[in-house]
């Protein structure tokens, strides 16, 4: 306890909430409020309606939602596979080799995502790989961006893993493949789940690289929100944003439930 006087404590809490509520809680509340209203000219929104949700859950917007979900799930699964493979391989390397792999797989975070988008656009609009105009170019860019996070979290989990389990299994005659399948992966499951949730959330909200790449028939939710607000449809945009936040939270919740079940083992 830093502040002992009752008055001082109340003052500290007052400062906290005066800063915290308008900066962090208000924006999310405002988006939710706007998604239910028809106009906002003045202190408070007016004309309560559920109409924006009707618009946000059919036609173009529904398509954008499925596009985003398919992209995020595919990118997360690919990133998780490649990322954890790389992290597992790196853990077996000598110090120098691990440092090189660490640097390589962290690079996509350090490079601005707009530039990742530009690079993918430049490289895959020309032979030998012609992906421009297809959905795969968006999925590829998302995979690249989230692989770094998958690698980092699996790599961090591996360093915390007690090597005794692996060595005990190996000394009992288990082959490396068997050790990986029956010992290491089950122990890594909670962090793999956490990484999956992180990758999914990042991919759902990805805008920078997507803006550089998306073909007209593969428009994820963030782009949909941008085009809606850009043409002045702020309230529809807010409803779509609430759909984006809601679906991200639902999937994160589901993933965290798997995690708690896995950690009981």
């Amino acid at each position: 306890m830093l502040v002992h006087s009752r008055k001082g404590r109340w003052a500290a809490w007052a400062v906290f909430f005066v800063l915290f509520l308008p900066l962090f809680a208000l924006p999310l509340l405002v988006i939710v409020a706007a998604s239910f209203s028809t106009s906002w000219s003045g202190a408070f929104p007016s004309g309560p309606t559920g109409g924006h949700y009707a618009a946000a859950t059919r036609g173009e917007s529904l398509e954008a939602l499925t596009t985003s979900l398919v992209t995020a799930v595919t990118a997360s699964l690919l990133a998780l596979t490649v990322g954890s493979w790389a992290a597992l391989a790196a853990a077996n390397l000598k110090k120098r080799g691990k440092a090189v792999l660490d640097a390589l797989f962290v690079l996509p975070v350090a490079v601005p995502s707009v530039v990742v988008g530009l690079a993918v656009l430049v490289a895959f609009s020309q032979p030998p790989f012609l992906l421009n105009g297809t959905r795969w170019i968006v999925i590829l860019a998302h995979t690249l961006l989230v692989t770094a996070f998958a690698y980092q979290s699996v790599s961090a989990a591996l360093t915390r893993l007690d090597p005794a389990f692996e060595q005990a299994a190996a000394s009992l005659g288990a082959r490396p493949g068997h050790v990986l399948r029956r010992v290491k992966l089950p122990l890594l499951l909670p962090s793999l789940n956490a990484a999956a949730g992180l990758c999914f959330a990042l991919s759902m909200g990805e805008l920078s690289a997507t803006m550089m790449l998306y073909p007209p028939d593969w428009m994820p939710l963030p782009v949909q929100i941008y085009t809606a607000t850009d043409r002045g449809a702020l309230f529809t945009g807010s409803a779509v944003a609430v759909v984006l936040m809601g679906s991200t939270l639902l999937v994160l919740l589901a993933v965290s439930r798997i995690r708690t079940r896995a950690s009981y083992r």
Binding site: M1, V3, V30, W40, A86, P108, P112, V116, A170
Partner: protein, 294 residues
């Protein structure tokens, strides 16, 4: 007791695991993911560098660089990017420190819920903040509405949204949690007995913060701050949603040159500059955070 527990662990590496000889050696396992990364990430990056050296007239020269560096738009974007990033980082550090301090050392019921809320906040995309600010500080938004209702004036005083200050506010809001998380982790390791001792010796809270808490928090502040600096330099969504013609940052310039103007060599030049700044700073962040043990 301890030695009997430790012994097998020390011994274990000496026992050759059976079947090791017949399996693929370790380094080869690293090849498939590295090959994938090379094809899908390193090769595209190399192409960007190559294109930045290839002017429209053909051949290879540094001419695109000279052209871009000479342009007013680029220099302005570079300046805006740097001051916005530095300003936002400073704001995030101050705000994050104050908020984390209250959560950690002046605990209140619901503090855990607030920490959880911050985690949730981090999983949302950044542009939502700008979207929300449009309703709060927009020309006909909440703040201006309250003002005109109260004073009867025709327009409110909040007209900063389409200026760099609007971007700054959005970035400080969005990135402060990135500072708070490492700070809260660092504070949870701080021995509260130190605070009790200092305060029983008569130190005022301000002095305790300055002499006890701040030195402990410095590594976390440094690593959180440098991460936020890189993220702010590369932020695109917030600037795009602001929709202000007056605010152009390097990522916006890359987007504008490539998608709106189809001037790929120039876009690639800006991209290379952006990569250099951001990878350099990110390397610094990794060094700092490793030293901080975070």
């Amino acid at each position: 007791m301890a030695s009997t527990v430790l012994k097998p662990r020390e011994k274990a590496p000496d026992i050759p695991p059976p079947g090791r000889a017949r399996t693929v050696p370790g380094p080869l396992w690293a090849l498939p993911p590295v090959a994938l990364l090379a094809v899908f990430f390193l090769y595209p990056l190399a192409l960007v560098v190559e294109q930045s050296l290839a002017p429209d007239e053909g051949g290879t020269s540094l001419e695109p660089y000279a052209e871009v560096f000479a342009s007013e738009a680029f220099r302005e974007a570079l300046g805006t990017t740097v001051w916005l990033a530095v300003g936002s980082t400073a704001g995030c550090l101050v705000l994050g420190f104050v908020l984390a301090l209250v959560i950690a050392f002046v605990p209140f019921p619901g503090g855990r819920a607030v920490a959880k809320f911050i985690d949730v906040f981090l999983s949302f995309p950044s542009f939502l903040i700008t979207l929300a600010l449009l309703f709060i500080y927009g020309t006909v938004g909440m703040a201006n509405g309250l003002w005109t209702d109260a004073t009867g004036a025709a327009t409110g005083p909040f007209q900063f949204l389409s200026t760099p200050w609007g971007v700054l506010l959005a970035e400080v809001t969005y990135f402060t949690p990135f500072v708070m998380r490492p700070l809260l982790a660092a504070f949870s390791q701080l021995d509260t007995a130190q605070l009790e001792v200092a305060s029983s010796l008569g130190a005022r809270p301000a002095r305790i913060v300055r002499r006890v808490i701040l030195p402990e928090a410095l590594p976390a502040l440094a690593s959180g701050g440098s991460l936020v600096l890189v993220l702010c330099l590369n932020e695109f969504g917030i600037v795009l949603f602001t929709g202000a013609k007056g605010v152009t940052t390097l990522p916006m310039l890359v987007y504008g040159k490539a998608i709106l103007e189809s001037d790929y060599p120039a876009a690639c030049v800006v991209a290379v500059v952006n990569i250099a700044i951001s990878v350099g700073l990110y390397g610094l962040y990794r060094v700092v955070s490793r030293r901080a043990g975070a």
